[in-house]
């Protein structure tokens, strides 16, 4: 009869997840499914996600789309859901281990970081080896997305990441420091101020997402350095892409949450109809929904799209 | 006496949940007199004066001041109408200074621009007046008018509360057991103060359990029992034994309340 699905996101306050929910809702309507959306209270709130999965089991859902806050911690309850015959698809963030979910539709966050790292290095050219880089990360708890993007950037920029699962153990002299932003403007501004005070010669800023980048830009503007610092970011939301157009952000790695959600919904529909589970992308252990670098200043050796194309695919 | 009462209450009722603290209580206060109110614990004496002074709103009944019906919604209204009260628990703010406490709710502002537009208080003027009032009443020697009230002894606090009422009461001064916790010496001072206030022409309502004190200073005695006025007696016509007998129900009271 009626196919019902659940979408569980980390929060319902981050535009990224809001768009994901919109995409899923639109697709559900198109396919005639019912969709219930849940979210944690803040990033890192795993218990609410556990409760949400349990609710989906009680609700008799056919499938769950999940962006996990705690990729390891959530595994037992995901297993419970799968045991109850529910298709669990990890969206955006792979579980740990990745095969804990039936399937994963995700951006390669490491690649997203790597792309902006490469672009920044290529844009600076020779100056890259004397660059002063500031890292504006997510939260003190170092969630996996944050780690992947951060360490991806370092890899792309040509820094030694040491333990690739840990932020802050590097000793590359070009790293001015890491600070946390909570992924919003407020945190971005304060973190940027702190790092600028630590070293006023910063000329590259890695940011976890575009709101943090916007905050960092305000801070640079306040000291009159908005023109000579390169800000790179990840997300590809419409305000973010607009900021790339206007030169606030140099380049951003665009993800496709709407697509992730839509693909996920289709997979659930298919599973409900035929019992068939989605297959991962060739050569990867997850279904890659793709990431593209958006910039108006393409750098050689790094594939990118311009902001016009970016605006067409942006999500909020 | 042909004089009209300055303050009257008729048929006051106040219920607290299942307790009826006032049960159609009447009350009359004549100009220039000291009216004592006596009664057992829980008879409703404090409730009566709280109703009269606006601290609680009676459920029924009416209050008249100088013949005009009044409806006090708070002690502020009563104070504006000239009724000053010393409550059983004193009602002082411990952390504020003596001067602040005396002028609470009737602060003096600076003259001119500062006072009118910036509403700046005239601390100096208030301190001066407070010191003058305390000295005038000869009540006690307080070194520093800016001392916080919490640093004063019980007797000194009682003094401040009484002085405040005596200084600002323009029509009626009410005192609820002003000497309950006081020593012999301190009690005597308060009694003298009460007589002092009367000699300035103000009528006073005095609640007390101390019969000798009551018979010493009162012009009339209002006997309260089971939430209502039982009778009013003239202390010159009855003995303390009579009063206590009426108050505790040991003897039937004279039915007709006597006038002052």
């Amino acid at each position: 009869a009626d196919v019902s699905a659940c979408l569980i996101t980390k929060t319902d306050t981050n535009p990224f997840f809001v768009k994901m929910k919109e995409g899923a809702t639109a697709k559900a309507k198109e396919l005639g499914m019912t969709l219930k959306a849940y979210a944690g209270k803040i990033d890192g709130d795993s218990e609410t996600q556990v409760a949400a999965i349990e609710t989906c089991i009680a609700d008799g859902a056919k499938g769950i789309l999940l962006t996990a806050s705690d990729t390891q911690g959530i595994v037992p309850v995901v297993k419970k859901a799968r045991d109850a015959g529910i298709l669990v698809i990890a969206l955006d963030t792979p579980l740990d281990p990745i095969d804990a979910a039936d399937s994963t539709f995700a951006t390669d966050n490491f690649l997203a970081g790597k792309l902006i790292g490469q672009w920044a290095a290529a844009t600076l050219g020779n100056a890259a080896k004397d660059a002063k880089v500031a890292f504006l990360d997510l939260t003190p708890a170092q969630p996996t997305v944050g780690v992947l993007r951060d360490q991806g950037f370092m890899t792309g920029f040509g820094m030694d990441t040491k333990d690739v699962n840990k932020i802050g153990d590097e000793d590359d002299p070009r790293i001015v420091g890491h600070d946390v932003t909570n992924g919003n403007e407020e945190g971005g501004r304060t973190a940027m101020e702190n790092l600028l005070q630590k070293d006023p010669t910063i000329n590259v800023v890695y940011t976890i997402n575009e709101p943090a980048a916007a905050g960092a830009f305000q801070s640079l503007k306040a000291v009159g350095r908005e023109k000579d610092v390169l800000i790179v970011s990840v997300d590809g939301g419409c305000p973010g892409v607009k900021n790339v157009t206007e030169g606030v952000i140099g380049a951003t790695s665009q993800q496709y949450p709407l697509q992730m959600a839509a693909l996920g919904m289709e997979a659930i529909k298919k599973f409900a109809d035929s019992g068939e589970k989605p297959k991962p992308t060739e050569g990867k252990n997850f279904f890659d929904t793709g990431v593209s670098l958006v910039t108006d200043k393409p750098a050689s050796g790094v594939e990118s799209i311009d902001t016009k194309a970016g605006m067409e695919k942006c999500w909020g | 006496m042909a004089q009209e009462p300055i303050l009257t209450a008729r048929g006051l009722v106040k219920r607290y949940g299942r307790v009826t603290a006032l049960d159609h209580a009447d009350f009359d206060l004549y100009p220039g007199e000291i009216l004592a109110v006596i009664g057992d614990n829980g008879a409703g004496k404090s409730s009566l004066i709280k109703a009269i002074s606006g601290a609680v709103r009676p459920d029924e009944g009416e209050i008249r001041l100088e013949g005009q019906a009044v409806h006090f919604r708070s002690p502020i209204d009563a104070r504006k109408a000239g009724i000053e009260t010393v409550y059983q628990n004193l009602a002082l703010s411990p952390a504020l200074s003596i001067a602040d406490n005396m002028f609470l709710g009737r602060e003096i502002r600076k003259p001119g621009f500062m006072g009118q537009y910036l509403r700046k208080l005239d601390h100096k003027a208030m301190e001066k007046t407070a010191r003058a009032k305390l000295t005038e009443l000869g009540l006690m020697t307080i070194q520093n008018i800016n001392q916080a009230v919490e640093t004063l002894s019980g007797g000194q606090r009682q003094g401040v509360a009484v002085a405040r009422a005596a200084a600002f009461g323009s029509k009626v001064v009410i005192m609820d057991e002003p000497t309950a916790a006081l020593g012999v010496k301190e009690s005597r001072r308060v009694l003298e103060l009460i007589l002092d206030v009367r000699s300035r022409g103000l009528p006073i309502v005095l609640i007390s359990h101390n019969m000798p004190h009551v018979f010493e200073v009162a012009d009339r005695i209002h006997i309260h029992r089971l939430g209502r006025r039982l009778t009013v007696i003239n202390p010159k016509e009855y003995t303390m034994s009579d009063a206590v007998a009426f108050m505790t129900g040991a003897k039937a009271a004279p039915t007709e309340p006597v006038a002052a």
């Binding site: 709130d45 795993s46 609710t55 009680a58 609700d59 705690d70 911690g73 037992p76 | 008879a43 303390m240």
Partner: protein
Amino acid sequence: MSEPTTAAPHHEYEKVLKESSTEVASFDTHDRTALQKFQHFLHSSPSAVSLIVLVLSLIIFGAMLGSKFFSAFALTLILQQVAITGIVGAAQTLVIMTAGIDLSVGAIMVLSSVVMGQFVFRYGFPPSIAILCGFALGALCGYINGVLVARMKLPPFIVTLGMWQIVLATNFLYSANETIRAQDIEATAPMLQFFGNTFRFGGAVLTYGVIVMVLLVALLWYVLNHTAWGRHLYAVGDDPEAAQLSGVNVKRMLISVYVLSGVICALAGWALIGRLGSVSPTAGQFANIESITAVVIGGISLFGGRGSILGMLFGALIVGVFSLGLRLLGTDVQWTYLLIGVLIIAAVAIDQWIRKVAG
């Protein structure tokens, strides 16, 4: 010393007292209306209001959602979902009954669970010892709170606010933000997941965590109502000075309450491992708010000395019922938060109204 005969009253007037009437003030005797009787009943049984709200909300959601909600499975699911809040809420109840508040419960819970996990996986302790260490840690944190509150007379709000930050920071520094995976725990130290075990009858699924919560609340109910310690706790919350003067060792009581609160938080930490399967240093961030909400909706006075721990349990269940019910209805999560906010205010407003009217 000469044994005097009963002395004669000094005052003549006191002699008349012998004849004094023994009448007492008359109360209104008019028959009380049904509403007033109901109010009186509510007033005399502090957890009745929350129980009624709980039953009503069960009925309403049951009517709206049918068997999806009103099934053994869904109802026991609610129990599972509130188990942690219920255990932490029990700790919070004890502290709030002493007119305090414990903002550090969530942090202590998480740090205890991290210690239990890391002591096994980092240092190779046997699980039973590691669990004991977790409990010891909870007790220690509680003890520090208790000493600061009881001996140094600092306000509980501030002490536990500071403690919260300290413990949480310690938690992140110590754990290095590392989650211990469920699979590893299952393989090495299944005892840590003890409270995750379930037994079922029919559709009902009860975890050991649920059982321990119910047992804990029952035990504390007994202790609060039927032992001297419990009566002393009420007395301390009511008026600590009076309690001290009438023979209660207030400092020792306060310290014991905070220590017990810490121990219960450690228990919650253990149960948390059972619920999540894994040990996660980021868990339990809302345990403070949730436990306080449960206590408040349960009709326990923040001023101390009044209320029943059963009310806390009902309060937690009310939140659980609303959360699950609204989720199953598919409303936006934010509406749930909004409703719980309204519920909190409504709960105390009703409580205040009962107190006022029933006098």
